[in-house]
Symmetry: C2
Subunit: 364 residues, 2 copies
Amino acid sequence: MEKMIERYAVIMAGGKGERFWPVSTSKHPKQLLALVGDTPLIAQAVDRLVGLIPPENVFVVTNACLIEATQAAAPMLPPENVVGEPIGRDTAAAVACGAALVAARDPDGVFAILTADQVMGDIDVFKDTLSDGMDLAEANEVLVTIGIQPTFPSTGFGYIESGDAFGGSEGTQFKRAVRFVEKPDAEMAQSYLDTGRFFWNSGMFIWSVPTLGKAFAAHCPEMKKLMDELTVFAERGEIFQGLEEMYPTLGKISIDYALMEKADNIVMACGTFAWDDVGSWSAMESHFPQDEAGNTLIGSCEQVDSKNNIVYSKDGHLTAVIGAENLVVVQADGVTLVCQKDKAQDIKKMVSKLLSSGSYQNLL
Amino acid sequence: MEKMIERYAVIMAGGKGERFWPVSTSKHPKQLLALVGDTPLIAQAVDRLVGLIPPENVFVVTNACLIEATQAAAPMLPPENVVGEPIGRDTAAAVACGAALVAARDPDGVFAILTADQVMGDIDVFKDTLSDGMDLAEANEVLVTIGIQPTFPSTGFGYIESGDAFGGSEGTQFKRAVRFVEKPDAEMAQSYLDTGRFFWNSGMFIWSVPTLGKAFAAHCPEMKKLMDELTVFAERGEIFQGLEEMYPTLGKISIDYALMEKADNIVMACGTFAWDDVGSWSAMESHFPQDEAGNTLIGSCEQVDSKNNIVYSKDGHLTAVIGAENLVVVQADGVTLVCQKDKAQDIKKMVSKLLSSGSYQNLL
């Protein structure tokens, strides 16, 4: 009798969310906030899996200092499934950690690497994609990555160039992944779209424990060793001790660099569901309606003669905007941010400045 | 033996201060705030008189609903000297009310009409001007108005055109007032300055009870009647009953229109002290230093790559501004205002909009 393979998910929740400061802070980063929707983004990430992967098979890898806040934000998860890294060592190590958690339950398990802070629509399509991808990863020795069918020439996402079709099943389409490319400029993004071959890189993956292990062994032996040793710790229920012991010896390396840019057995699932990584305050324009003057007003906001602003003012605080254009105005407990929309990348600069001034630790 | 004439001051404190919303509200208007300096503007107005007019001779005319807050803001005054109008009837009625309060104490009294929400420097010069003006108003049947020697071609103030010198005393210079003119445009303001004859209209006056009474009788008999009848009420300690009885029957009329534009016995004192009516948030640039990028940062403010903004953020609330220019950003309890600097006149429009929406009564 064939063994029944269990399905798992590992949700990567290590983001600091500086780009959503001041609402997002180090103690309460983006994934723990209901920036879009009524529940924290991480709760939405778990809820999307209902009917496909049971909560006891869903792990979250986050920062050690965020374990309690994460458990509170995603109370449907068994508390022990929320695992905290003592220090950040980039995504390859977090994937190895997740793989160890899965392997300790089922050495042949198939699991998805998902993100804690993305927003999706067409959830049924997403679930079909994930389910079909898991079937594929169970039946084939391949690394599956989910590409998103682009709807506009975004310069904010990386792209995956796809090649020949892989398999011929109904449902989700799969194609060989040819290469991964960084965020393009506007002209390049348009040329990508024109080819019809390029998909947005969502940072979501599907693979089995053995296939991932082989790929790590071939392309990044340090991660193979980490995954194997953490598995032993996880089997003893001592994953945190394992992380404390192993992590300080590691360099920082991303899963893209460690694996995806090197492996030749990568298959891309063509995701046709609505998707956004909510990368900055500007992304709010995609998730909330605009008034007749192009303003995105979230919470208690009033405007007079103002155009194309994004205003976020919750908890009953009123934000009034007069004669202003192209601003991001954000109200948080104890802080107001006013930022020219095209300078949103400088929020990190402001956070660094405040950090080094030493006066605003509790607001960062 | 000559009778000793007492000196009095009536401070007009009826302003709503909408232009300083959201820090200024109907329950806590501009004159009750320490917008500039460490004490409420009205306390500064009383303190400026120390040594010249004793607190028991200083009256404040304000809105009835602000009596307690005004008493609290100016605790050096006898509480009964703070008099509240049941409804606003513009400045002529408030002057008549003040005159009645003085007349009830001394029918020949000399008093200054001062404002509650202006900022001054060179206080000794101001006091000399006031003292010399009171001497003049005691000795001559004239209406004295204080003009301010302009230091730049302001388009934000009205002007007084002065004529021949009046009297030849040392100390404060006095000139005949030729005419009062409204706020000019920039070109006109410059031409005023070039003549050397034009002074800013400060809205401060000095006169005796009998001289004011005669002027009212000649130019605005309704106000003469009001002043006389209120004097009877004030003599009985029942000024509020008098205001409640008389005010609803009155039209709204300013002291400029009722008297100053009509009388021919007006003398202008040349005020050479520093003076500002702190007319809007933009005025903060005159009263606080700028950083190297022209930003006026009051309270807890940080900026990155921002120019020429005025940011007001007190009570420990942090306001962070990135890449923005020419904004007024104001943080108050429960409200944030973001306003293009040259649209500050639209703050009233915003307040009206919020008032009619009905949702923000407690913030207005």
